[in-house]
């Protein structure tokens, strides 16, 4: 493959910016354009639900790179102008304002869009959290109302609950799972997280979904659960999940499913790549397609995509990593937690809120989770890399 002379990246956030940086680091001297729907320079999302919502960080502290570093990158930023159409064969993108951008290679990095409850726009006091603007609006409302209902028992919902509780609010979390984060961490560790939240004074209403929002005079007054019960609220946060931002790609000729479908090189079509939360690619190590929604993947996949754009022809086979910070708990996960995984505690003690758990499936270690045990977690990550036999791990398990 010949080196392209221009690259257009759609989506100017963690993944998109990282592609531009990796291209430059590898010596790419052609034209690079970053097109973004938001009007902000690239900023970081993980602090939003933590330090920005709590007020510990000013929004400017989330900027991924200082302006001086962005200037040195020699990248053209086109911000506040979402892409609305892609012609994959012509490698041309049309934007909402009517721009037409063409490049030899196009990288799709549009991330996720949040799911909302039907009719939620009708009521003031109802929020989602994906952008810095969302976060500032939610924070302003949290500073006025004492009762908060968080609809959603995933990572985002529980982080927001922890932050709101830390701000002294009365918080209730509603969600369909029997433990928070059960689908990400399994039932056992989800149970430890439930205990952490109830010990901190958060009310958990689990195993039930929000049916609808209730309101009066333009403002939300509560949520109605699937069993008819109404939980009163001054502020409602809707954190019921997100989906890949691919609506604008309908008719582009790309294959779309739960994300932009790519091969093991993260290539969706000739000269078109996808990266970050929006990319569904074939993971050769696992032998199946995956899509990851985490901060480290955004950068690591960007490095793989940049290398492939420059002709390296390298499959992307990461050991995924994500973390969440809730109250004083730093929870870190390397690898995968399949739904059928067995759990073995190999360090520490969950009752003391310091432990390392290994997850195993089909006879092998697939993941490691650490709870306030940073170094030990990093050491046990090697079991995931090596795919250590599960029988050997059982011998390491600390009796509970």
């Amino acid at each position: 493959m010949t080196t392209p002379s221009s690259v257009l990246v759609v989506g100017a956030s963690a993944a998109g910016l990282s592609v531009a940086e990796a291209l430059r680091r590898e010596g790419f001297a052609g034209r690079v354009t970053l097109l973004g729907a938001e009007r902000h320079l690239p900023y970081d999302r993980p602090p939003l639900s933590k330090k920005v919502l709590s007020g510990a960080f000013k929004p400017e502290q989330t900027l991924l790179r200082p302006e001086s570093a962005l200037a040195k990158l020699d990248v053209e930023f086109v911000l506040g102008d979402p892409a609305i159409r892609l012609d994959a064969a012509a490698r041309e993108v049309t934007t909402a304002s009517g721009r037409s951008l063409r490049a030899d290679v196009i990288v799709l990095a549009t991330g996720l869009e949040v799911r909302r409850l039907p009719g939620q726009e009708a009521w003031a006091g109802v929020h989602v959290l994906r952008t810095v603007d969302d976060t500032l609006a939610l924070r302003a409302d949290l500073l006025t109302g004492p009762r908060v209902v968080v609809a959603g028992d995933g990572v985002l919902g529980t982080e927001i609950a922890a932050t709101a509780r830390g701000m002294g609010l009365e918080v209730t979390v509603v969600g369909p799972q029997s433990a928070p984060l059960a689908s990400q961490l399994g039932l056992q560790v989800g149970g430890y997280l439930a205990k952490l939240h109830t010990d901190q004074g958060v009310a958990l209403r689990l195993g039930i979904g929000v049916q609808e929002l209730c309101g009066a005079e333009g403002r939300v007054t509560g949520v109605r659960l699937a069993n008819g019960e109404v939980l009163p609220a001054d502020v409602v946060v809707v954190a019921i999940g997100s989906r890949p931002a691919i609506g604008w790609l309908a008719g582009s000729g790309l294959t779309l499913a739960d994300g932009i479908v790519c091969d093991s090189r993260c290539q969706a079509a000739a000269g078109i790549y996808a990266v970050g939360d929006v990319a569904w690619w074939h993971h050769e190590g696992l032998g199946t397609g995956v899509r990851l929604e985490n901060r480290t993947n955004a950068v690591e996949q960007a490095m793989a995509v940049a290398a492939n754009i420059l002709g390296k022809d390298r499959p992307y086979t990461p050991v995924p990593y994500f973390w969440t910070d809730q109250y004083d708990a730093k929870i870190q996960v390397h690898g995968f937690v399949p739904a059928d995984a067995e759990v073995a505690i190999v360090e520490g003690d969950p009752a003391l809120r310091q432990f390392v758990a290994l997850y195993g499936s089909r006879g092998k270690v697939t993941g490691v989770l650490g709870w306030n045990m940073v170094k030990q977690t990093r050491q046990h990550r090697q079991h995931v890399v090596d795919g250590t036999a599960w029988d050997a791990v059982r011998a390491l398990a600390v009796p509970q």
Binding site: S18, E21, A22, R25, D44, P46, P47, F57, Q61, L64, R65, P66, A69, R295, T296, V299, E300, M303, Y321, W323, D325, K330, Q332, N372, V374, K375, T377, R378, R381
Partner: protein
């Protein structure tokens, strides 16, 4: 090359330690410890990768002095 770390932004991921253990370590709470603010040339590539991968955008490099 000079390495600067922002302890407030560091989220304790430890990617830096995995990539460049001679330059970075972590405290018990995960926050980064800078072992060598002017690492030797043979470590520069690994340090650059750590600065890129760091999910807290907490590592900045001043290059070329």
């Amino acid at each position: 090359m000079r390495v600067v770390v922002d302890l407030e932004k560091c989220c304790g991921a430890g990617q830096c330690v995995l990539l460049a253990p001679k330059v970075f370590d972590q405290r018990d709470d995960g926050i980064v410890i800078l072992l060598d603010a002017s690492p030797p040339k043979e470590l520069h590539a690994a340090v650059r990768e750590a600065a890129t991968v760091c999910p807290g955008a907490a590592i900045t490099l001043e290059e070329g002095q």
